[in-house]
């Protein structure tokens, strides 16, 4: 009874994770194209674009706010690209886990890719903090400067897991040749 229940739970987990990643990919792509659309609109409407997002901006702050918003949108695009890398790579790992063969060298490389993408996401907090500090015209649209220890811990964990998977795949290769 127990192994069957365990397998069912495992299948559910894999299916659930696959669905979650698929939805997250759709949301992330919608966000990416939404930001691109806003960037295009900001170029077409120029300073008239700012009051659409920050109604409280004074006329004198419009050029500075427009630059700030465009930079913020570029940061958003970079975040979407990094998130796309994380999600697509995670989907590949989930597929290999679903096939019952997760301890492969490719997954160690995939985890390393996720680690670099997560590191990139963490580092994007720097331009956000700079925008927060040097572009007061952004007002309520300012991204806010926050340090996230959990994010850095996740980066570290993923890199360590990548090493664990590399060692695991080597051990599995050894075991495969054992009769």
């Amino acid at each position: 009874m127990l192994p069957t229940a365990h397998l069912t739970n495992k299948d559910r987990l894999i299916k659930g994770s696959r669905l979650f990643v698929r939805i997250a990919l759709i949301v992330n792509r919608a966000f990416f194209f939404g930001v691109i659309a806003m960037l295009v609109v900001s170029i077409i409407l120029s300073t008239r674009f700012v009051p659409l997002l920050i109604p409280t901006t004074s006329a004198a702050d419009l050029p500075s706010a427009l630059t700030g918003l465009r930079l913020l949108m570029l940061v958003g695009l970079a975040m979407a690209v990094a998130t796309e890398i994380v999600l697509r790579t995670l989907a590949q790992i989930i597929t290999s886990a679903g096939a019952g063969d997760p301890f492969i060298a490719a997954n160690a490389r995939r985890l390393q890719t996720i680690g670099w993408a997560l590191l990139g996401l963490q580092l994007l907090a720097i331009p956000c903090a700079l925008l927060d500090k040097f572009c007061p015209a952004l007002g309520s649209a300012a991204p806010g400067a926050s340090f996230s220890p959990g994010g850095w811990l996740a980066v570290l964990m993923v890199f360590v897991l990548s090493r664990v998977f590399a060692a695991g795949s080597t051990m599995r290769d050894e075991l495969e040749g054992t009769v």
Partner: protein, 71 residues
């Protein structure tokens, strides 16, 4: 590979096929073929014990250093 597998010779002496050995030691034919062709990277003590018990031989009859084979 410095270790050579002489399973074929021992099987010949015992007039036993690989399939019969596979059934006797409860190891898949595929795995025994890997062992026989020298493609295995390692052999479990339990496998070696089962093969030797079935074929009434010593581990040294099956596993031989390649130099000895050349001699």
């Amino acid at each position: 590979m410095p270790i050579a597998i002489k399973l074929d010779e021992v099987l010949d002496r015992r007039r036993m096929s690989l399939t019969e050995l596979s059934e006797a030691v409860d190891i898949t034919l595929a795995n025994l073929s890997i062992l026989k062709t020298g493609k295995a990277r390692a052999i479990r003590f339990s496998t070696l014990e089962a093969i030797c018990t079935t074929l009434h031989c010593q581990p040294g009859d099956i596993l031989v250093l390649a130099e000895e084979v050349e001699d």
